[in-house]
């Protein structure tokens, strides 16, 4: 220490201090800055394995280099998030042509999905799969998420995400079984009929608030039977058929003569 103390007035001391400070700032930033890509960066092997999977399972429609063709979108630049959503929910590979690709049990395990995602991400820059922290509902503000959900999502997905009908056989799916990551990747990629909600429209924090709001809905309704949470139509049908039926039954019972 004495040696350092003795040289603290050396003419190179400010320079050395500045370098040290810069190094420390850079090091700290590298250590703590939120990283856009998911935890483990994909290796060359992953990309190669993903390409093999792609050629075997996806290239029939999307083309051997994922360039797409008429009515089949190009996958260049859709990003890993899109693959994680479409393949992770079983929507791709698509089971059949129709108004909308339906969700089904995923055809690949998570490792294969990650490899496919790595390959598609390597084709062009696109949204990445969010980190666990970015989608942790415990870190979100459910009340703000509710306000955002009502403005941006509720018109299609319903007030609590129970889903709803669109035009010509298309529909907005229920979000009850969607994982936080799927909700996030759907927002950044805008699958099928859904518009894109990029980070300027809904910031990553706001996306997490929406995830927290949806997580709250899993605790159920304080009022008892939800009747599918479809709103006045479902509840009206219930009241008219079951409620009126019970009332008519009671009137008939009161009016009938005892045997």
């Amino acid at each position: 220490m004495k040696a350092i103390a003795a040289r603290r007035h050396h003419r190179h001391a400010p320079m050395v201090l500045l370098l040290l400070a810069l190094l420390m700032t850079g090091g700290l930033y590298a250590a703590f800055a939120p990283s856009a890509v998911s935890a483990a960066a994909p290796s060359e092997d992953d990309i190669a394995a993903g390409r093999a999977l792609f050629i075997a399972n996806c290239a029939t429609c999307h083309g051997p280099s994922a360039e797409g063709r008429d009515d089949v979108p190009s996958l260049i630049g859709v990003g890993a998030a899109s693959v994680d959503f479409q393949v992770g929910t079983g929507r791709m590979p698509m089971q059949m042509d129709g108004p909308q690709a339906a969700a089904k049990p995923p055809q690949f395990d998570q490792e294969q999905i990650n490899q496919l995602a790595a390959y598609v991400a390597s084709l062009g820059p696109g949204p990445a799969v969010p980190s666990a922290q970015q989608v942790d509902p415990a870190l979100g503000d459910a009340a703000n998420g509710g306000a955002l959900f009502r403005t941006n999502c509720a018109m299609c997905h319903g007030a609590i995400g129970a889903g709803g009908a669109l035009t010509e056989g298309k529909w907005a799916p229920s979000l009850a079984d969607s994982t936080p990551t799927q909700v996030y990747t759907a927002m950044v990629t805008g699958p099928q009929s859904m518009p894109v909600f990029n980070d300027a429209n809904l910031t990553p924090d706001e996306k997490r608030d929406i995830i927290a709001f949806l997580e709250e809905q899993h605790r159920g309704s304080p009022g008892g039977i939800t009747l599918g949470s479809l709103g006045p139509v479902g509840e009206g049908v219930w009241v008219w058929i079951v409620g009126m039926g019970l009332l008519i039954g009671a009137s008939v019972w009161i009016g009938a003569k005892s045997s």
């Binding site: 403005t151 035009t167 805008g190 009929s193 518009p195 894109v196 300027a200 309704s221």
Partner: protein, 352 residues
Amino acid sequence: MSNNEKGTDLEPRSSGADVDQAGAAGPERFDNPGLPTHRDRATDRDPAAARRAERTVIVLFALSVLGTIGTVVAYIMVPTGESVENMRLSNLLLGLGLFLSMFGIGAAAVHWAKTLMSDHEQAEDRHPQRGDAETRQAAIAALGAGAEDSGIGRRGVLKGAVVSAVALAPLSVAVPLVGELGGDWNVSKFRHTLWERGRRLTRDPSGDPIRAADVTIGSVFHVIPEGLREGDHADHWIEEKAKAVVLMVRLDPADLTEAEDRRDWSYEGIVAYSKICTHVGCPVALYEQQTHHLLCPCHQSTFDISDGAKVVFGPAKRALPQLPITVDDEGYLVAQDDFNEPIGPSYWERLK
């Protein structure tokens, strides 16, 4: 249910082909068929059945008592609390208890009346309503004496005073009631929204301004005017919001069909339309990014955003009004002007 004995004379007339003939030669007046023959119930014939019915009634009343006790116990023991589970349990127990306590009494009373109380039909003839001549004479005399005593026939001014007072009194209620109807008849407000030249487009609900570069292809922004809650309209900002809400999307300019006179209303494929349906004013916001169709959830009116938001399906008959937009010096999206027509559904003064 057999009332054949007494109804026999009706039978040929109501049956089949000779209805016309029977109708022509119908009797002056139908005979009173009388009551159907009384039929004893099981509880009238069998004392065991009566005891059973009595027990059922007692059980139903006891159920009601249990329900009442249950409601009180649930109210004390299961507070609504903070969590959803707690509220659900409390609601469920209170509802079940209330249902049992009310339904038990009702069902017991009905069952009691139907099975145990006498069910012999009884007829009571109506009394004649007209009083006899003597009573009527006396009543008229009493009324006349009262009128004479009040002097209403002689004192003309008094008569005028009482009639005016009674006739005018309802005005004290009617005038304020009618005066408060509507309150605001300034219909021209519907013609204008907060949008004006240079007002920035901001995100709903945060109010952050939007850069044109932030609106990527396929994204949809729900937009409110900047400064919605400030200024003269701060007290009724929610009405202003209801008129001014806008949905903004960016399309590939190649997909966009624009009318000649609206070519400069969009900005590099970004178009903004009023979110209020021209049918009956629901917020239209179900945007399908692949078809560029905008669907109204109320009556399924569908608008084509890529082609001037024209109606492609449903009961709406006018396209959604377009908000002309551009960018300011800092790159934020701003309105060029207000909508060029009243937003929302047709109304009488709109004349269109």
